[in-house]
Amino acid sequence: MEERVPQHVQNIVIRDYCSKKNIQYLLSATEYAMENSALTLRQLVKDLSSIDGIVAYSIFQMPEDDNERQSIFNSVLSLKKELHFAVEGLSIYDNETYNHIENIWKVKKTIPDCLYL
């Protein structure tokens, strides 16, 4: 959603996050550049059974569409896996963390409707 950070910088941030959290970094995956694409993300979730979870660069790389994003989050939770976001230092691993991340998303989407300087 709007922000773009060079891919090599994203990788540095993700590796640093994994190091600090003692998460073993296995493989990097890159989303297709087409607008609103979540093809790679959906494939990662589909293949999630063999690993512990996914580390994304940011919360706001998740699908902007509420239903699609929530579907991905629910898939991760139903598999009892984790979804981490390196820039924010946050993760989804239960209903409470799911709600927290969703609230952040919804506030972010609401802000443009608020009066702005």
């Binding site: 230092g89 609230n103 952040i104 506030v107 608020c114 300087l117």
Partner: protein
């Protein structure tokens, strides 16, 4: 027209005129818990008095120690709520009751005569903070004179802002020289909390007192107020989202097509 109570108006007037308020910590248990955690970390260095920490920590090892304390205290799941509770009634009045809070709480340690960890004169708004933010500054020891921080009152800050281009070619030390007779040195004791307007220039100087300063700081803002470089998610998180907002953010008009 406003419907603010007498107490709210007193706090508002003071904050607008001085750029800060100092009040009793609203939750002493929370404050003591935070202080105890920090003292326990100092114990690992062989000390038990925050005021005299300079006897246990050298200037060269200060920053690594400070970062270690910040890392460990921010790992405590109770920390941010405790910190918020200490200032909650004042934030409710000055900022609002639907808030975003900085994701990490910071810690400053100023050893006597240490020039290595100074914050030169600045306003947070000069480097990417929204003017809708306030700083909650929490002393873990009594702070006074150069053991504390200084703040330029709003009126003088506005004058400086108006004339800023005249001084923009200088440096931060020259800027401090310009304002040093107008700044307020914050006198605040342990057990009190400071809330200040971070758009007013502030900073610290070499601590010329004989005691070490320990203070924490964290930013708060109205959840639905403008953000600048410090964004929701990566820097701020919602902490008191209200039910109507929760409902409204999920609201969709009935589908007609």
């Amino acid at each position: 027209m406003d419907f603010l109570s007498k107490n709210e108006k007193i706090l508002e007037k003071e904050f607008i005129e001085k750029g800060f308020i100092i009040r009793e910590a609203a939750n002493k248990d929370a404050l003591n818990k935070i202080q105890k955690f920090v003292i326990d970390m100092l114990t690992s260095k062989g000390g038990d008095s925050l005021d005299h920490a300079h006897k246990n920590i050298s200037i060269s090892e200060l920053n690594d120690f400070r970062l270690d304390v910040i890392k460990k205290i921010n790992m405590q799941p109770w920390l941010r709520e405790a910190y918020y509770q200490i200032a909650k009634p004042y934030l409710d009045i000055l900022v609002g009751n639907e808030l975003a809070m900085q994701s990490r709480v910071n810690l400053s340690i100023q050893l006597p005569e240490d020039s290595s960890s100074l914050l030169t004169v600045h306003a947070d708004t000069w480097s990417g903070d929204s003017p809708f933010e306030v700083v909650v500054w929490l002393p873990l020891v009594n702070c006074f004179d150069t053991k504390s921080m200084y703040l330029l009152p709003p009126k003088a800050a506005n004058n400086l802002s108006d004339d800023f281009k005249l001084h923009a070619q200088g440096n931060s030390e020259k800027l401090f020289d310009l304002i040093k007779n107008d700044v307020n040195w914050i006198k605040i004791n342990y057990g009190e909390v400071l809330v200040f307007n971070q758009a007013c220039p502030h900073g610290n100087r070499v601590n010329k007192e004989s005691e070490t300063r320990w203070s924490m700081n964290c930013r708060f803002k109205g959840l639905f107020t403008p953000y600048k470089d410090k964004k929701i998610g990566e820097f701020f998180e919602p902490i008191t989202l209200r039910p109507v907002s929760k409902i409204a953010m999920n609201y969709k008009l009935p589908i007609t097509e």
